[in-house]
Structures are given as C-alpha cells and as structure tokens.
Symmetry: C2
Subunit: 335 residues, 2 copies
C-alpha cells in the first residue's frame, strides 16, 4: 500500500516522471499530483486514471510514502520538510539538498547503497553529472579514478520548456537571413532564458557565475562527482556549454586512473555496465538518446596526449536518466 | 608588380579570400581567378573589377607570383607543383602538404618567421587548430606549454556550402515535429555530408576514422599544433565535435605549463596578444565571431581540477582567420 506524490507535476520533468511511473508499472496504490496554485484543479492522465492536481501551498502531506519533488530549489527548501515530517521520503530533483552531508546523492546503478542511509531526503544529481557518472563509475571501480577533464554539450530542455521555446524561436529568427548571419550582420533576437542567443549558436556558460571564473553548473560537476563516487580529492576540470539541441546532454571526458587502462579493457567494462549502452560502430548522438533509459557511450579510446587514460563520449536523455528516470529508480529502490 | 591567383575561387573560402584581399587593399596589380572547368568562363566581382574565371586544368601559371589554393587536397597535390615550377609561391589551405618537413605551417601572429623558410609552398593550418593556436601560443611563449586537452565545437561551414545546406534542411525537417523528436520518435532525414543528423544534434566525430580511435581532424590538432609551436613532444588530447552552428569554430582548452600560471597573468598576456580579442564581461560565442578577423577568447580561469593551468574558450570565424584570412595574411608577409 504505497502512496506516491509528484510535486511539480506540470513541468517537463514532472510529466516525464508520471509517464515513467506508468511505463515501469510502479507498485503504487495511489498517486497524488501536486503543483502550484496556478495549475491546481486541472486534471492529468496517469496510469491510475485521471487525477486532479492539488495546490502545493494547501496540500496535506499525511499518508504520502514517497514524494518526488521537481519544482525547483526554492520550492523544495520551502516544502520538503513538511512531507518528511509527515512521514514521507522526499526524492528531490533540485540542487537544494545535494551537498548536505546527511542527504544521500544517488545515481541508481552507481551508488544505490547510499539511498539506504537517508534521513527523509534523497537527492537526485545534476543531469550532466549523472550522465558522466554512468560511464565513469564502472571504470573507477576497476582502476581507481584520479582525475577527469569534462566538457559538456547541454541541450535547452535542461532549462525547461522555456529553453525549448527560446531555441525554436531564435532558430526561426536566424534561418530567415543566413547570409547576413554568416557575415556577422545578425540582429539580436529576444533573450529570455539565456544571456546570449542559442539559435545556431553555442554558449560556453551554463548556470550562474559562481567562483573563480567557474559557473554553478560546473561546480556541481566537481562536487557532486566527488560525493557520488566518495572521492573527496578527485580532480575535476569542468566546462559546461549550452548547445542548440532540444534534448540529450553529452559530455566529452578525459579520465585518468591509478593505473594504465587501455581501450579494450574500458570497452569490456562498459559493455557490461548496468544502465549503459556501449556503441562501437556508430557514434551515439543526443538525438539517439531521446526517449531512451540508458546512457549511450561511444568513442572509447586510450588517451594519446598522455597515454594510459581513457577519452570517451557519453550522452543521455536529460529528462529521463538525467532527471525523472533516476528519481523513479530511487523510488523503486525504496519499495 | 604582384600577380595573384586564387585557385578554388568559387568555394566559400575562395570567395572569402577575394573579399578579404579587397577589404585589406592587397597590393596586387593583377588577380587571376581559377576554378574547375565547371565554373570556368563565369565572371566574379573583385576589387580590381570583374574578372573571368579560368579553367585550372588549362591554366598557364607563368607570371603568377603568389597562388592561394583552396580547392581541396587532391587538387593541391595535382596542381600546386605546376605553379611552383613556374615561379609562384603557393599558399595552400588544404591538408595536403601541412606535415611535410620542408613546408612551413604558418599561423600569422604566431610563427610568422617560419614563412621565410619556404621552398615554394606554405601551408595554412586546419581551422580548429588555428583558433586554438591564437590563444595558446602567447601563453606558451610566457610559460612553456606542456599539454593541452582540447574539445571542439565546429560549425557546418567547415564542411563547405553543402554542410550549411544540410544543417538548414535538417533543421526544417525536425522543427516540424519537435514533440516526437523529444520522445525519440524522429525520422532519419537525408544524410549527405555527415554520417549522422546534425539538425538539433551534435556529432562527436569530425573527419575520418584515422588511428587508435581518433579521427583525422583530431590528429591534425595534435600534429599541426606541435609543428606550429615547434614542440614535437607536446601532449595534445583532442576531441572534435560538429555542432549545429553555421559559422564559427569554438574550442575549450585546458592548458598546462612548465610553471604555474594564474588567471590574472593569462589575462594580461592575452589582452595584448595580436589577433586576439579578449572578452572579460560577456562570453564570446560563434555568432560573435562571424565576420570578425580576431579570435575571441573568454572564460580565462585557473584550472580547479589540478591547479596551476589555464582553462579557456576560444572561438574564431572558420572562413576568415580559420582559413581565408590567414592565407591572405601569409600573402601579406610575402610582399
């Protein structure tokens, strides 16, 4: 007799959570859909029938066993404790609690055991970090990870539906006069989500300016990777870049280990890693990752700059394994 | 009394060469426009008036002082020697001669002195390498470069007009049904230039499969960087990725030196580096680079993974500094 709540159910990740719960046959008797007052009173289709959306501000959390939160950090900070106090386990997709020492940060298939140590809240990692961890963790287990240089190719759906709209609008804006664009004679389109245009462009800046020239998104890659792998001294050199793709976050990573690792060994580890689909003959792209549960890994090769490491490419659906799927998988660990 | 020839004048780079020669007031008395038989007989506007295009197969190279070749490696291999034998200096934009020991590989403002040692042919480097060199070389001069991890964001115009057409066609193809795309239900568009779709996608593979899992484009980054900087042992870890941008090649680079270099020092070096425009407050993007002669550098910061190095982003117009402009600048060194 499990009662589930999905908080932030009208967002892209929240809606994906509901579909995934249904697809995977999650053993819940009841699901409660919760969002802000604006959406309250509307109804959504779920695998348990059509259900009315409740207003988060007025909701009574008693009886909820597991609450999946995906409504931003401020909402989690304001409301998660109420659910925990009422006896629920909160699985939080925001960054609000990820670095708190008593909150486990769990990538399912990487550090499942950490989920058991929760005190009411379990955090879901950042989407880019999650993709990278799926490829790096199995190799770490084999050879002891020492350092990573990671460079991302992040899609606009990582910024929600607004990011998708901004890319589509700007693409249309620029497609109308490609010749001028290519000579530098373009007109600034409307900017809402991103500080610079993203249509036919790349923005080597994701998140906010945080520390010593690094962004909040980049520091998540550093600190969350260390926590998930339980490697407080892991050297991580991050650069997070937004690219004009709709879905799928990719990462190029150069990994170094305590000992030399060759391409054949890395391939044999990754080919049997859970949740990973290793592509050998073709390169996996963000489009290939759309709608898939696995993280796709390709271009696994021994480093040529300083031999003995592994250079690879990993790409995952940022709305699924990067967010909703991992949260649902954590819930599955709990029941 | 200088006579110039532009070979491959009807391509994107060839046309840019002609505009740049005019813009910069190149001191030529005569310019000869040369292309394949298909384009011969047509006329093009130049700063010296309208000029008829000659057929490369039938052209008499006598009297040409400097020939700018941009018609692909096979054409250069077949025809460059004829021009050299007739007394011309060939500045070649293809990869045909770049790694030949007696051919200087010149990035103007980086290793101009090498141009003086030519024996008839001077090679123009690969566009991504060139962009990176403009930022890395001034720092190397200050602190001695030891290693680079470089990850690229290359635009489709690097594959010529066909690449531009493919991106625009596929963008239209996918924009018609974004909802299906985001769930993975997309239909493969026509593929001509690239092995996978590039519209709203990223292809972590550029060039051909070359050696030990690296591509031809990646090996250019390794070998050309070593030659340009005269550092045969430089460790270069390359990943070349095609992104859905029309113009402008970007590179994320993590650089390590013989001694510790801080962000302030790197900024002070780059702010006065010739041909470099250092952006401090905003991030430069591929769109910003379109139509500009400088390589734009931003996000200069000291590495946090293993402190003491520099992590930066550089982006340049691949048709200008990445190709046509550097070739014209080499020609300017010769006169």
């Amino acid at each position: 007799m499990t009662t589930l709540a999905v908080v932030g159910v009208t967002g892209a990740v929240g809606r994906t959570m509901v579909s995934l719960l249904g697809e995977r046959g999650f053993p819940a008797d009841r699901v409660r859909l919760i969002a802000s007052a604006r959406s309250a009173g509307t109804s959504l289709d779920t695998w348990l029938g059509e259900i009315e959306v409740e207003d988060l501000a007025r909701v009574d959390p008693r009886g909820v066993d597991i609450a999946l939160f995906s409504a931003g950090g401020d909402t989690s900070r304001e409301h998660a404790a109420r659910f925990v106090d009422a006896g629920a386990v909160v699985i939080d997709n925001s960054s609000a609690f990820r670095m708190e020492p008593e909150v486990p940060l769990v990538v399912v298939d990487v550090n499942d055991q950490a989920a058991g140590e929760h005190r009411g809240i379990i955090a879901n990692p950042n989407c880019t970090t999650m993709t990278l961890m799926m490829a790096a963790a199995p190799l770490h287990e084999t050879a002891g990870l020492v350092s990573m240089v990671a460079t991302s190719y992040q899609s606009v759906s990582g910024s929600g539906q607004q990011g998708v709209t901004e890319l589509l609008d700007q693409t249309e804006h620029f497609a109308g006069d490609v010749d001028s664009l290519m000579r530098g004679g373009w007109h600034e389109p409307g900017l809402t989500v991103y500080p610079r245009p993203i249509g036919f462009n790349v923005i080597p800046f994701a998140g906010d300016d945080a520390e010593a020239g690094y962004t909040s998104e980049e520091l998540k890659l550093v600190h969350e990777s260390r926590k998930i792998l339980d490697l407080p001294d892991l050297a991580v050199e991050p650069t997070c870049v937004r690219v004009p793709t709709l879905v799928g976050h990719g990462v190029v990573a150069t990994l170094r280990f305590e000992r030399r690792v060759g391409a054949d060994e890395a391939v044999s580890v990754l080919v049997s890693a859970p949740g990973v689909s290793l592509w050998k003959d073709r390169v996996p792209t963000p489009l290939d990752s759309a709608g898939t549960d696995e993280v796709l890994v390709g271009r696994v090769r021994e480093t040529i700059g300083e031999p003995g490491g592994i250079n690879l490419w990993a790409v995952g659906d940022n709305l699924r394994k990067g967010a909703a799927l991992n949260a649902v998988q954590i819930a599955e660990l709990l029941v």
